[in-house]
């Protein structure tokens, strides 16, 4: 994982070029538009932050290679939250006042987004979160947007899927008590199950970062479910899938978008087969726009993108699109233009921003087959 350093170098070169040009032609080259980013580049959720960051950097490079926006280059100032509480508020304050950014991307993790975004809201700087799916995030204020779908959407979609496609009657739920993401998904899943008449036969909890889930799985197995819903991130999910299959649990296991990462299959191996989850962006998507993104990303970083990479890519492009449409790089104008986004053609789908500043776009459900994520069906909001 060397994304950040290379991006740092890349940015350095770009900046250097700007600086050199600037000394000769200060009158000609207008100052770049500064956009902030705060993400978990180090610490426990560094994977999330770094993959997002790679997507952002790639979007940045493409935008600037194409001459920037409205005649100005774009600059991204990235700050690290170290996956720690208490850091987001400080770095967002730094971005809004020190770096004087006009818009902010971040943070992918809902908890830290909830901490940092209110500060941008107070400063009137629009925030676009790539992957914070917690509904509370956009409720923080009229400056907070997101390009991903929300927990209620995912939870509901997966319950509907269990009911309509898998014909499940009895389901078990295993959620992460330390993760608002997981609890949110479980909550909305349960609500929808009630509507559809699915019985929740077992509920177990774990704490993010745990390694042994056999106890919970053993208890769940005893309740004889038709399917399990395990909203969690891929790190935990890989082990859960593995241990579930080892304990002889053969029923389908459903997850959230947090499942999507190559590590899921690397850890779980064959045990990942027969699990289902929604994705923002499917590598198997055959649309030219998506295929092009995957190719360019793989070429640029030497590895395949994940969902959050695509979301990070879309987040920056959405902001730049708003600047272009609004014709201004003033925070207020950007906010206004963001709110009016309709049918923005992102790599994660056609995005429209609704009145709650959430992205309305389709999701895809994938099934893991022989270690591959196979596109199964699209679900519209």
């Amino acid at each position: 994982m060397n994304g950040s350093r290379r991006s740092f170098l890349g940015r350095g070169v770009a900046l250097g070029a700007v600086a050199v040009l600037g000394t000769y032609a200060a009158w000609a080259a207008p100052e770049p538009i500064r956009i902030g980013e705060f993400s978990s580049l180090t610490g426990r959720e560094a994977g999330l932050g770094q993959y997002t960051h790679m997507g952002v950097v790639m979007a940045l490079e493409e935008i600037n290679a194409a001459g920037g926006v409205n005649g100005r280059l774009v600059e991204v100032i990235a700050e690290d939250t170290q996956s720690k509480a208490g850091e987001s508020a400080t770095v967002v304050r730094k971005l809004t006042t020190r770096s004087r950014v006009v818009a902010i991307i971040g943070e992918g993790a809902s908890g830290r987004c909830l901490e940092g975004a209110p500060i941008a809201q107070r400063a009137g700087i629009p925030v676009v979160s790539p992957a914070a799916t917690n509904p509370k995030v956009t409720e923080l204020g009229d400056c907070i947007f997101r390009v991903c779908f929300t927990d209620p959407f995912q939870g509901t979609v997966m319950a509907k899927f269990a009911h309509e496609t898998l014909h499940a009657k009895r389901v078990g739920v295993l959620s992460d008590v330390a993760s608002p993401y997981s609890l949110g998904l479980a909550e909305f899943f349960r609500q929808r199950c009630r509507v559809d008449g699915i019985e929740i036969v077992g509920e177990q909890r774990f704490s993010g970062g745990d390694k042994d889930f056999r106890a919970q799985l053993t208890a769940l197995k005893a309740s004889k479910p038709d399917a399990l819903f395990v909203p969690s991130y891929y790190g935990d999910a890989g082990l859960i899938l593995l241990q579930a299959r080892q304990l002889g649990i053969t029923v389908p296991i459903l997850g959230g978008d947090g499942f999507e990462a190559p590590e899921l299959v690397q850890v779980a191996g064959a045990a990942a087969d027969g699990s289902y989850f929604p994705v923002h962006f499917s590598l198997a998507d055959t649309s030219p726009r998506s295929r092009g993104f995957v190719e360019r990303f793989t070429k640029r970083w030497g590895k395949a993108p994940t969902g959050v990479s695509a979301l990070g890519y879309d987040a920056l492009n959405l902001i730049v699109d708003a600047i272009r449409r609004g014709g201004s790089a003033e925070p207020k104008a950007i906010r206004g233009a963001l709110a009016l986004t309709t049918s923005f053609d992102g790599v994660t789908g056609r995005i429209s921003i609704d009145s709650e500043r959430n992205a309305r776009k389709p999701a895809s459900i994938v099934r893991v087959e022989a270690g591959q994520f196979r596109f199964l069906q699209a679900v519209a909001p």
């Binding site: 950040s4 350093r5 740092f8 580049l41 180090t42 700050e79 690290d80 170290q82 720690k84 509480a85 208490g86 508020a89 400080t90 770095v91 304050r93 730094k94 809004t96 006042t97 020190r98 809902s110 908890g111 909830l114 901490e115 209110p118 500060i119 107070r122 917690n134 509370k136 923080l140 992460d176 008590v177 330390a178 993760s179 608002p180 609890l183 949110g184 704490s207």
Partner: protein, 313 residues
């Protein structure tokens, strides 16, 4: 006459804090944010210094007391504040200090609850019990929906300002200093030096230790309240073992049982954290190397040039 002078100092610091705070609108909010972080760190470190440095206990649960204070204080302002129907200024200057006090008191109660039964444990055993307590607090907060559970507590008003942070820091330093600089207060140091001898000289060592624990926890709780209203958001994960370690490091780098050294260490570590930010991923590597090198070269603490003042009546 030493004593009016010490109180004079306190008043001067409070006035300066108030004065600077009045102009905080003109200060870069980021600098302001870091400055308030410094104030909170001074409060945390000085209060832990009373327990770990001066009384010779070894607490690894300071973040837990801080969490108790942060949540209590934030619950008061978020639930009661909107119902009162008074202006923000009134809330910030009346309700907020009351909430800080509440946070401190609840934390002090927690300190009493942890301290009283566990103080017969020594050294590493006490350390692990306090560590365990901190973890227990974290887990409980994660499980209680009323305080937001794992999602955290959102929408805490931003009442913390320069005046409050530095007033609290000044009061903490004054209290710790005042407690120690009296015949009664030398007892804390005597307990740290030799418990058996202290007891034989008629000192109720248990009471001393509990006093240190309760007072230390009180200010940790107040610091928590300030933190809550500075960040505007609380998450149980923010008060884990690593947070406690951060504060312990401040105390040890400053030199256990030094007033000024610990204050300097708190300032330096907060500022260092911000300075190293531009080093991105190398920041923590540098930080850890610095820690090791400092301990190898200046194990008595970084900011200890003079001998501890022998006596001050």
């Amino acid at each position: 006459m030493v004593l009016p002078k010490s109180q004079l100092w306190l008043v001067v610091v409070l006035l300066v804090a108030g004065g600077v705070s009045a102009f905080s609108g003109r200060i870069d909010p980021y600098v302001l944010d870091v400055a308030m972080g410094v104030g909170i760190a001074i409060t945390q470190a000085s209060s832990l210094n009373l327990i770990n440095g001066f009384t010779g206990q070894f607490s690894l649960g300071h973040a837990g007391f801080m969490a108790v204070g942060a949540y209590s204080s934030a619950m008061l302002t978020t639930t009661l504040g909107p119902k009162l129907g008074v202006s923000t200024a009134v809330l910030q200057w009346v309700l907020f200090p009351a909430s800080l006090l509440l946070g401190g008191l609840v934390a002090a109660l927690a300190g009493l609850a942890v301290g009283a039964p566990s103080l017969r444990l020594k050294g590493d055993y006490l350390a692990i019990v306090t560590l365990g307590f901190g973890e227990i607090i974290k887990v409980i907060l994660q499980n209680v929906d009323a305080v937001g559970g794992a999602r955290g507590l959102v929408g805490i008003p931003d009442y913390t300002n320069l005046f409050w942070t530095f007033s609290v820091a000044a009061v903490t330093v004054y209290v710790v200093w005042g407690l120690l600089n009296s015949t009664y207060g030398r007892g804390f140091l005597a307990v740290a030096d030799d418990e058996v001898a202290a007891e034989a000289m008629g000192l109720n060592t248990t009471r001393y230790k509990i006093t240190a624990f309760v007072v230390g926890s009180f200010f940790a709780g107040v610091a928590g309240g300030l933190y809550a209203h500075l960040k505007g958001y609380l998450n149980p994960g923010g008060f884990d073992f690593n947070k406690s370690i951060e504060i312990v490091v401040m105390v040890i780098l400053g030199g256990m049982g030094r007033h000024v050294g610990v204050i300097i260490a708190a300032i330096v570590l907060v500022v260092l954290n911000e300075t190293l930010r531009s080093f991105g991923e190398y920041r923590m590597i540098l930080y850890s190397l610095l820690l090791i090198v400092l301990m190898l070269t200046r194990p008595q603490g970084l900011f200890t040039w003079t001998r501890r003042k022998p006596s001050a009546a």
